[in-house]
């Protein structure tokens, strides 16, 4: 059974955390991605704060994103590390028409670098590209910042859908897919109850 799975289409799952102020439209970005994509499958059963979406990386490899929306309000900031435990990637959004939202995005990124796992793939995205006329944050400024830290950078519009697929594809292509597939296969073969985990410590507080 398990063997069949590995020879047939391959499937890897990754956790993506979504960070950004409430007003930057981070939920719209994900909604656009989830509803607009190639595959109309939505697997959310409780509510839209947790969504999943799959994309086809190549002919036989499907990637599934587990998208963890986070509360953007400042008051939950100190608790956010609980969200990015075991996250493989993060999408940090700002609003190109709001200067302050980039600063806030930068502070999320700093937090990620401190608290999240070292190999986390981070994408900085500037939303509301459809409001070019009201732009306050220059592409150059944000891109330079992203390049410096080795982040994926894109300007997008959740409203028109521009650039959204690209962002998720860029993230997917930087993810350690092979590694994940190998460990998943191993796990299946051994029917391993205890995959080495970092989250079973007693630290439910932080």
């Amino acid at each position: 059974m398990a063997d069949l799975v590995t020879q047939e289409p391959r499937f890897a799952q990754f956790k993506l955390v979504l960070l950004g102020e409430s007003a930057v439209g981070k939920s719209s970005i994900v909604h656009r991605f989830v509803t607009d994509s190639f595959d109309d499958l939505r697997e959310s059963t409780i509510g839209a704060a947790f969504l999943t979406q799959t994309i086809q990386l190549d002919e036989r490899t499907t990637i599934k994103f587990e998208i963890w929306d986070t509360a953007g309000q400042e008051r939950y900031k100190s608790l956010a590390p609980m969200y990015y435990r075991n996250a493989n990637c993060a999408l940090v959004a700002y609003d190109i028409t709001q200067e302050s939202s980039l600063d806030r995005a930068k502070s999320w990124i700093q937090e990620l670098q401190k608290q999240a796992s070292a190999d986390i793939v981070v994408a900085l995205v500037g939303n509301k590209l459809d409001l070019e006329a009201e732009r306050k944050v220059s592409t150059k400024e944000a891109k330079e910042y992203a390049d410096e830290l080795g982040l994926i950078f894109k300007e997008i519009s959740a409203k028109t859908g521009e650039g959204i697929k690209d962002v998720f594809h860029s993230i997917a292509s930087k993810l350690p897919v092979e590694e994940k597939l190998n460990s998943a296969t191993k796990r299946r073969r051994n029917i391993d109850l205890n995959r080495p985990s970092t989250n079973n410590q007693e630290s439910c507080s932080c």
Partner: protein, 607 residues
């Protein structure tokens, strides 16, 4: 296998502490805990050990070699083997394990029995009649033809209705079924919650081939319970033992033929629930005996304390202080319902069941968001969900929430704590931690107003405390008076007994005998259906009694259905003030007063 070592180590620890000492300790429970809790702890411990039969020999529990112990004992609480109709017994077993039996008792007689039990019980234990929290979670792997029991469960009775149908209800919402099927086949191990049939697992585990495995488990449980472990040791032992025993189990029939992921998952889920339910009193800090508490366990308890102190201190918090701009308050039905669902975590022992309670709570919150979307412009996302979750847990005051979360995190199989479950458990951790760290800067309120609220609340708390003390005093006085009266009532009898020989009619032996006779009679009516052997007179008396009892039950049942419907209707009217009340009534009837189903139906209608 690393567990072999620790298992041997465990064995060499020579667990001499017998079951009875454990029982004794649990009786002299932690003084900081409420009496009811320690009571419950005691009962649960008895349950776990299957100690209802007085003739049962405790010593035989302590070693693997003790082959004379019937394996049935291990199952004593999971199935219907002790179906002796002893009602006291049932009353004591107000816990989940025992109730696992419910889904498979399908006959109406059983349903009746359950209902009786509910009627007898106080509100708090009614919930225990639910077998498992019902799964509201949709699951695309499920046959869509199944009746929709999804949505929000409300009361224990609905639970029974659903449960007697034997459904671990999970439903399909995916529109694109073929695609979803394809995907779940590829990845079925990683679903939010797979379908789980505990009774199937138990039935399998009972096969003759599994006897050696059961002995292992028994030995593990005894030794686990006999010693004091740190949290890390507990996690290691439990997880490694589960893995170890899973390895052993799949060598035995019928587990040697687990062909699908679903079978594998069912077995793993079954093992987790089987084991965790039995060591619950040694792993869930609020129920642990004082001497077994390790520093981390104590930390859970002290964090629970802080949590509850803050619940009191900040009980004045309103939605606006959390930037929730919706028209809700603590009396909003959705808020109450979400809280009720969450508070059920204390009624279940297995990590999976506890998680289901959390998911149900979250689902109600999203129903609230969707309902509010009709009035306000709100997006359905974490920015609104987390503040609402904070508000809900602030208002519902769930006991031991921190301990419950720690328990889940420690003992839920990592294989299953993924995806959506993991997300909502994390969200709850964030909300709970937020409450333990609340300060003025974390709320939308001016320093002045904050100080005023705190002061005002402190004054009220003091007043309430004084009032409570006064009431308690009155109650105590009343009780003392009653006791005195009772003694007065009995005194003639005592005098009579004391004055032996003075009057033949009241000779002590006779008094005792006749009262014993009455006792016997009542016992026989309790235990047996009208017996053929009994005299015609007594049998007709018995029949009369039975008939009376039955009609009483029927009328009770009717009254219950009616009151249920009224409650549901009241809730619905609050939630959907714009809807015609006759339509609401129809919905309530059609959905058997299941508030969850009703809400779904109403939402559909209003959309």
């Amino acid at each position: 296998m690393s567990f072999n070592k620790s298992f041997n180590k465990l064995g060499s620890a020579k667990a001499t502490a017998s079951v009875s000492t454990a029982k004794g300790d649990s009786v002299s429970a932690n003084p900081t805990r409420s009496e009811s809790e320690s009571d419950r702890g005691h009962k649960q411990l008895i349950n776990i050990l299957g100690q209802f039969e007085p003739h049962h020999d405790n010593k035989q529990w302590t070693s693997i070699e003790a082959s004379t112990v019937s394996d049935q004992d291990l199952f004593a609480n999971d199935d219907d083997s002790d179906d002796d109709g002893d009602e006291d017994d049932e009353e004591e077993e107000g816990d989940v394990i025992e109730n696992e039996k419910l889904p498979f008792k399908e006959g109406p007689s059983i349903a009746e029995k359950d209902e009786q039990r509910i009627d007898k019980k106080p509100e708090s234990s009614k919930l225990a009649a639910e077998v498992e929290p019902q799964v509201n979670v949709s699951n695309e792997n499920e046959d869509s033809s199944e009746p929709d029991h999804s949505a929000i469960p409300s009361t224990a009775k609905e639970g029974i209705e659903n449960i007697t149908k034997g459904v671990d209800s999970i439903q399909v919402k995916s529109e694109n079924k073929s695609k979803s099927e394809r995907l779940t086949k590829q990845n079925s191990a990683k679903k939010t919650l797979t379908k789980f049939d505990f009774q199937r697992f138990l039935k399998q585990l009972r096969s003759k081939d599994c006897e050696p495995v059961l002995k292992y488990i028994k030995s593990f449980l005894t030794q686990f319970q006999a010693r004091t472990w740190s949290v890390d040791e507990q996690i290691k032992l439990v997880k490694e033992f589960q893995q170890f025993i899973f390895g052993k189990l799949i060598e035995c029939k019928p587990f040697d033929n687990l062909s699908t992921d679903e079978d594998v998952n069912n077995t793993m889920e079954g093992l987790e629930k089987f084991i965790m339910s039995r060591i619950y009193n040694d792993t869930f800090p609020p129920l642990m005996v004082e001497r077994k508490l390790s520093p981390s366990h104590r930390e859970d308890l002290s964090r629970d304390k802080i949590y509850h102190i803050n619940l009191k201190k900040y009980r004045w918090i309103q939605p606006k202080h959390l930037d929730i701009h919706l028209k809700i308050d603590s009396e909003t039905s959705f808020v109450k319902l979400a809280g009720t669902e969450l508070s059920k975590v204390n009624d279940y022992k297995s990590p999976r069941d506890k998680i289901i309670c959390i998911l149900n709570c979250c689902k109600v919150i999203f129903a609230l968001i969707r309902q509010q979307q009709k009035i306000h412009k709100v997006e359905e996302n974490a920015d609104i969900f987390v503040p609402l979750l904070v508000f809900v847990i602030l208002k519902c005051k769930t006991r031991n929430l921190i301990s419950n979360l720690s328990f889940i995190e420690r003992f839920r199989n990592d294989r299953f704590l993924v995806g959506e479950s993991s997300y909502y458990v994390s969200s709850l951790q964030i909300a709970a931690n937020f409450i333990t760290t609340i300060e003025q800067s974390l709320l939308t309120i001016s320093a002045e107003d904050f100080a005023a609220e705190i002061e005002n609340n402190e004054r009220k708390l003091k007043e309430e405390s004084i009032k409570r003390k006064r009431e308690q005093k009155i109650l105590e006085e009343k009780k003392a008076q009653e006791d005195a009266q009772k003694q007065g009532l009995f005194s003639p009898l005592t005098e009579m007994i004391a004055g032996t020989g003075k009057g033949e009619d009241f000779a002590p032996s006779q008094v005792l005998k006749s009262s014993a006779g009455i006792f016997q009679q009542s016992l026989s009516t309790l235990f047996s259906s009208p017996s053929r052997e009994s005299s015609p007179v007594s049998s007709s008396v018995d029949e009369l009694k039975t008939a009376k009892k039955q009609s009483l039950e029927e009328s009770k049942k009717e009254a219950r259905i009616k009151s249920e419907r009224e409650t549901t209707l009241k809730n619905l009217k609050q939630m959907f003030p714009d809807m015609d009340s006759e339509i609401l009534l129809d919905i309530a009837i059609a959905k058997n007063s299941n508030i969850g189903d009703c809400i779904d139906a109403c939402l559909e209608l209003t959309e």
